[in-house]
């Protein structure tokens, strides 16, 4: 069996306030069929065997749908495979002997917790600010009682594919969360159920996004390339349109955001 030998350069940081630094790790005898995270598991087992602290990284489902994992690998959020989360990236995308630089998402709004783990609570607070609909309690309505045009349903589904991993922020030179916020706004705003709060939603979510210290959108499209779900920046134009309309015609009042940054 052919094996891979990678030369890792990994960001290590003991805690939120500790100074971080890059540490080199030699990673021989790897299988090309391993996922990137399995490779880190192997490296960590070796570190533990040597009595060293393992590399901390976030992960959960490891099947590309939970949004927990996310690393900047050789300068690209989620690594070299397009439309793929870090957990679904495999070592066959790398050459043996290659240097692999591994960094956490870098943004003021995503403080490092430890090593490669960042706190993405800012995204949760953007959701809490307006990423929901009001639903009546009571009996479940008939599935087809509210008609949704097929094109709208498809577009809403494309936006709803967002797993909130934060790769858009990581890849943006301005560390903007526009693609994330816009995906949520488009997903709800395309549905009939999302209409009542539509003006308030965009004003509140954008206000919260700004409060969290994310940068602005410069329409350069790095986010849509990094997005593991390939969400188009067309949703950002839609958010801008909703924001303009709400600023001019409605949504006055409770523009407070969802909580302290």
């Amino acid at each position: 069996m052919t094996t891979l030998h990678l030369k890792l350069l990994v960001w290590r940081q003991a805690g939120p306030h500790a100074a971080g630094r890059f540490v080199r790790y030699d990673a021989p005898d790897l299988s090309p069929d391993m996922s990137f995270l399995e490779m880190l598991d192997v490296v960590n087992e070796r570190l533990i065997a040597q009595g060293e602290e393992p590399i901390a990284f976030d992960h959960d489902c490891r099947e590309g749908i939970c949004g927990s994992c996310g690393l900047v690998i050789n300068g690209v959020a989620h690594g070299p495979m397009r439309g793929t989360a870090t957990c679904q990236l495999h070592l066959r995308s790398f050459r043996s002997g290659q240097e692999v630089v591994i960094e956490p998402w870098r943004a003021k709004a995503f403080p490092v917790v430890r090593d490669l783990i960042v706190d993405r609570g800012a995204l949760d607070r953007i959701i809490a600010a307006g990423g929901y609909i009001s639903a009546r309690t009571g009996g479940v309505p008939d599935a087809n009682a509210v008609l949704v045009p097929k094109d709208d349903a498809d577009a809403a589904m494309d936006a709803a594919a967002c797993i909130g991993c934060g790769a858009c922020v990581a890849a943006c030179p301005n560390a903007s969360a526009s693609l994330f916020a816009a995906a949520k706004i488009a997903h709800l705003g395309l549905m009939p159920q999302g209409q009542p709060e539509r003006p308030e939603r965009v004003l509140r979510m954008v206000t919260q996004m700004d409060m969290e210290g994310f940068g602005n959108c410069t329409n350069i499209g790095e986010c849509q390339e990094a997005c593991p779900k390939l969400i188009s920046i067309d949703v950002i134009a839609r958010m801008n349109r909703d924001f303009l309309r709400a600023s001019m015609f409605g949504g006055e009042g409770r523009v407070t955001g969802g909580g302290e940054a």
């Binding site: 960094e103 030179p173 301005n174 700004d210 210290g213 134009a237 600023s247």
Partner: protein
């Protein structure tokens, strides 16, 4: 929403940049068209300059709108740039752009270069302090004497390269900011941005090049 709150949001500032961008692109189209009058001869362009002086309301109205647009455009850009820099306090050791290009990545510094050029350009051809042989209301004389000096022509040609780059991303981007983006219109706005970014700077550089090669004397 009151304008103060609109202006304080990142999207509000971008909308201001987009609207002022439309004003500036609109003006630049008129400017380049008028410049081409120089190929109709000294009489034509000098008469055009004199004609503008008989319409002070139009002249000063346009000047005020342009000044306001430039100020708003630059202030919003500067504030957003400061904010964006603060949004990433630690930079990446390695960062590989996947989608952006040379034009979209140079909007900020390219914009600063264009602002400096704009100041020089006004001192050069409008007020005349930066022009050693300036004659008021004689644009043909002013342009031909200026561009005979190779480095003055070079400054203008370089500035028009910067303008082409700024227009290529800016014209495309302002539609995005104003919410005009859809699979049906995206191809058209890319095409429009390309046409404007190529034709406008070409129209402008045709004058210094024509002077340098002796077509205009």
């Amino acid at each position: 929403m009151p304008f103060g709150r609109f202006w304080s949001s990142t999207i509000g500032k971008k909308v201001v940049m987009a609207v002022t961008g439309i004003v500036l692109v609109g003006y630049i189209l008129a400017h380049v068209t008028a410049n081409l009058l120089i190929f109709a001869g000294a009489a034509a362009i000098d008469a055009y300059a004199a004609k503008l002086r008989t319409l002070p309301l139009l002249l000063w109205g346009v000047r005020v709108v342009l000044l306001l647009s430039v100020v708003l455009h630059v202030v919003a850009a500067a504030q957003l740039a400061v904010r964006a820099r603060a949004a990433r306090p630690t930079s990446y050791r390695r960062f590989e752009p996947q989608a952006s290009n040379a034009t979209s990545r140079t909007m900020r510094w390219g914009g600063v270069a264009l602002l400096l050029f704009l100041i020089y350009h006004i001192l050069h051809f409008t007020t005349g302090q930066a022009h050693p042989a300036f004659v008021h209301l004689a644009p043909y004389h002013n342009v031909t004497t200026a561009f005979r000096v190779w480095w003055v022509a070079a400054i203008y040609i370089a500035a028009m390269v910067a303008l082409a780059m700024h227009l290529y991303h800016g014209t495309w981007s302002m539609f995005q900011t104003l919410g005009i983006a859809h699979a049906r219109v995206n191809v058209a706005r890319r095409r429009l941005a390309t046409i404007i970014a190529v034709l406008v700077p070409l129209g402008f550089v045709s004058v210094p090049i024509a002077v340098l090669v002796g077509l205009l004397r």
